[in-house]
């Protein structure tokens, strides 16, 4: 059985070029790889991209953008959603879209622009019959192949702006650390309130979304923050995206009692005058998460402003500080009534 498969594979290799040239059938996503039980060794097995370098998405992948994105050491992200033909996404208000089994979310992390752009890793979230699975794939030096990096990796990277980054590709468990609620892996990003309207339109045009849900409280567009006077909204959006995947009931940091979700409006729950529980030296000598009017006395600012493990928040995904994010959160806290 196995031998004959090998022979066939060899034959396919030998004639591959000729076949491709003749049929010119567009490449398609490998639904079996998404839905199966295996962890494919190579990203190419999914058929998400038409080229070896992962630059050309296969027809079926829909690019999306987020209003406010997660900071990942300043990496650029190329995000795609795949929904199998004939299946639909269901929206549940302005929260997380409910993707059917067989869907995939694909996100490539890159530094640099145009010809100088280098892919570091591509993370995939696969919706299988028994739940979501998160897998990280690391791009090779030649940018021709991305292979499964189950145990993650650490890579020294010099950013285009010259900043040295001790970049971390998360291991499979670390993926789950953020992508987890009540112990199950879930997507984080594609919430209606944080999705670009263009993406929702594209999804509908493909027939994968019946109606475009209303986002009553859409999150602000981070890229437009310079012209946005609503600092509280910017800060809360930033904290939701960068912190709330852990800091919410059922999240990895639920025991802290800190709940930084966009929709949470209890002042104590979002950290205002809230003493720490298990912050350890992360508290930095400060007594509360948010000291109104006093960012320098706020544990939240202290932990965002450190790169030292044990102090730094978020714990994963960054080795550098997000100065822009810190500035917005500082401004928000400084503006609070003491």
């Amino acid at each position: 059985m196995r031998r004959s498969a090998l022979v066939l594979a060899a034959a396919a290799c030998a004639f591959g070029g000729a076949i491709a040239a003749r049929s010119a059938a567009p490449p398609t996503v490998n639904d079996a790889a998404i839905a199966g039980e295996a962890m494919p060794r190579s990203l190419s097995e999914f058929g998400f991209f038409a080229d070896a370098g992962g630059r050309v998405p296969t027809d079926g992948l829909i690019e999306y953008a987020l209003n406010t994105p997660l900071y990942s050491d300043g990496a650029d992200k190329l995000r795609y959603v795949y929904v199998p033909d004939g299946l639909s996404v269901v929206s549940d208000g302005d929260g997380l879209l409910q993707f059917p089994v067989g869907s995939a979310i694909v996100k490539t992390f890159a530094f640099g622009t145009s010809a100088d752009q280098r892919f570091i890793e591509t993370r995939v979230l696969l919706h299988r019959a028994d739940g979501w699975v998160a897998l990280p794939y690391r791009w090779n030096e030649d940018q021709t192949q991305a292979t499964l990096a189950l145990a993650g990796a650490r890579l020294p990277i010099t950013r285009p702006d010259g900043v040295e980054v001790n970049y971390r590709i998360p291991n499979k468990n670390e993926c789950k650390t953020c992508h987890s609620k009540d112990g199950e892996v879930i997507p984080i990003g594609p919430k209606v309130r944080n999705l670009s309207p263009q993406f929702l339109v594209a999804l509908r045009e493909r027939g994968a979304l019946a109606t475009i849900p209303a986002a009553d409280r859409a999150m602000p567009v981070w890229g437009d923050r310079a012209g946005n006077p609503d600092t509280a909204s910017l800060a809360r959006g930033y904290l939701d995206v960068n912190c709330a995947h852990c800091h919410q009931p059922g999240g990895m940091a639920s025991n802290s009692g800190l709940d930084l979700r966009w929709e949470q409006d209890d002042p104590h729950a979002i950290g205002i005058l809230k003493p720490p529980v298990a912050a350890g030296r992360g508290a930095g000598g400060h007594r509360v998460s948010i000291a109104p009017g006093d960012p320098d006395a706020s544990i939240m600012v202290h932990r965002m402003s450190s790169t030292e493990p044990g102090i730094a928040m978020p714990e994963l995904s960054r080795s550098t500080n997000d100065e822009e994010g810190i500035a917005i959160v500082r401004k928000w806290i400084a503006g609070m009534q003491r």
Partner: protein, 402 residues
């Protein structure tokens, strides 16, 4: 789903017939090799750490049910298996466990940048013969917790050793059915801390040279509040006079050096047959939570506390809190009585009529300077002779350690 069912079956039957053992060696690539083995493990598998030192740069994690991680011993010599996090560059703890029915045994974690070993929502977990140590001794820059199970049912921590934690050596938080026994906790801020938890047994431990030996706390505003039903028995709580080195802002930063056992805001605590020796502030402190709070579920004072026949050695001769020295002087004694309360406790009894010291506060949150210190007599309640019923579900986990 099928896999989970198989795991349940496997755990139910004692002979883990299909389980595999994967042995990991220290040396080049240990981070990736060990983490990959932990990820690829099937329920029931055992990952064995060969003796030696594992130089690690990132946190490790276990997320498969029923896995055993076993070393060759806790060291400190190289005959043990030592996970060395001195060069750690990321993650909030050395080892993180997020799956159920996990057994951790016979290895050490050194110099984790955050917590040593954290298990979150990991039910039925066993920590056996584990050493977690910050080898430079007490420092505010050490990680917070050594052994840190949180949000779990059925926790067994035994025969382990923790030194140098800048918060608590062994910290069990927001959990139920807990046994912490036969451990040695040395030179931590808190030796052992049971917080916002219920049905806990803390027995036969040695807590020495910490700031405070054993703490039983309940804090407001957390998902789980209302801690209680805690037995603290047969422990040696000796010489816990290390200056408090917790970073300010943490609740334990307020624990005075020289504290033996401290109970804050719990319901139903028994303190029986312990040896409390040379704790300079006080052997037993009962105290209310004094910060403002808005949590309507919360009950801030210690209540239904029974203090049985403990051995009280020298102690209380140098109370390390504001006004402590003046208080001692005013009593005209060489040392305060073995039991100190802020006066806000409810229903505290003793195996025999016993004199205690009160700071004489009248209401929760009142400044200590307004208290009217005095001696009080604790009522004798010889009828309370039975110990609290033990968390049998946690104790049953000992069957895993052969």
């Amino acid at each position: 789903m099928i896999r989970i069912t198989a795991a349940a079956l496997l755990l139910a039957t004692s002979g883990a017939a299909w389980a595999e053992t994967h042995t990991i060696q220290p040396g080049e690539g240990a981070q990736e090799r060990l983490q990959e083995a932990l990820i690829l493990a099937e329920p029931g598998d055992e990952i064995v750490l060969a003796a030696g030192r594992y130089a690690l740069t990132d946190g490790l994690s276990v997320d498969v049910d029923g896995v055993t991680l076993r070393g060759a011993g806790m060291g400190p010599g190289e005959a043990g298996s030592i996970l060395d996090f001195t060069a750690q560059a990321g993650a909030g703890e050395g080892l993180l466990v997020t799956s159920d029915n996990v057994t951790l045994r016979d290895f050490a974690v050194e110099n984790a940048k955050g917590d040593g070993i954290k298990s979150k929502g990991a039910d039925n977990i066993v920590y056996h013969a584990i050493r977690v140590e910050w080898t430079g001794g007490p420092k505010a820059t050490n990680g917070a917790y050594g052994i840190y199970p949180v949000e779990a049912s059925n926790v067994l921590v035994q025969d382990s050793y923790v030194r140098g934690a800048s918060d608590a050596g062994i910290y069990v938080g927001q959990s139920e059915n807990i046994v912490v026994r036969r451990n040695r906790v040395v030179e931590n801020v808190a030796g052992i801390e049971i917080e916002n938890s219920n049905n806990a047994e803390v027995t036969e431990n040695l807590a020495t040279r910490n700031t405070g030996g054993i703490l039983v706390f309940d804090l407001p505003g957390l998902p789980r509040v209302g801690g209680g039903d805690v037995l603290i028995a047969n422990n040696a709580v000796i010489d816990n006079n290390t200056d408090n080195f917790a970073p300010e802002g943490n609740i334990v930063a307020s624990v005075p050096a020289g504290t033996g056992i401290m109970v804050m805001a719990n319901t139903g605590v028994q303190i029986i047959d312990n040896a409390l020796i040379n704790n300079a502030t006080s052997h037993v402190i009962l105290i209310a939570y004094s910060q403002p709070y808005t949590d309507e579920r919360y009950q801030p004072v210690p209540q239904d506390v029974f203090i049985g026949d403990n051995i009280f050695g020298s102690g209380g001769y140098a109370p390390d809190f504001a006004g402590g020295a003046e208080l001692l002087k005013a009593t005209g004694l060489d040392a305060l009585p073995a039991i100190l309360t802020d006066g806000l406790h409810r229903n505290v009894t003793s195996s025999k009529a016993r004199r205690a010291m009160t700071l004489g506060l009248a209401s929760v949150g009142q400044p200590r300077t307004e208290g009217m210190p005095d001696f009080i007599e604790l009522a004798a309640a010889p009828a309370i002779t039975t110990r609290k019923q033990m968390p049998t579900a946690a104790k049953a986990l000992e069957a895993r350690i052969k």
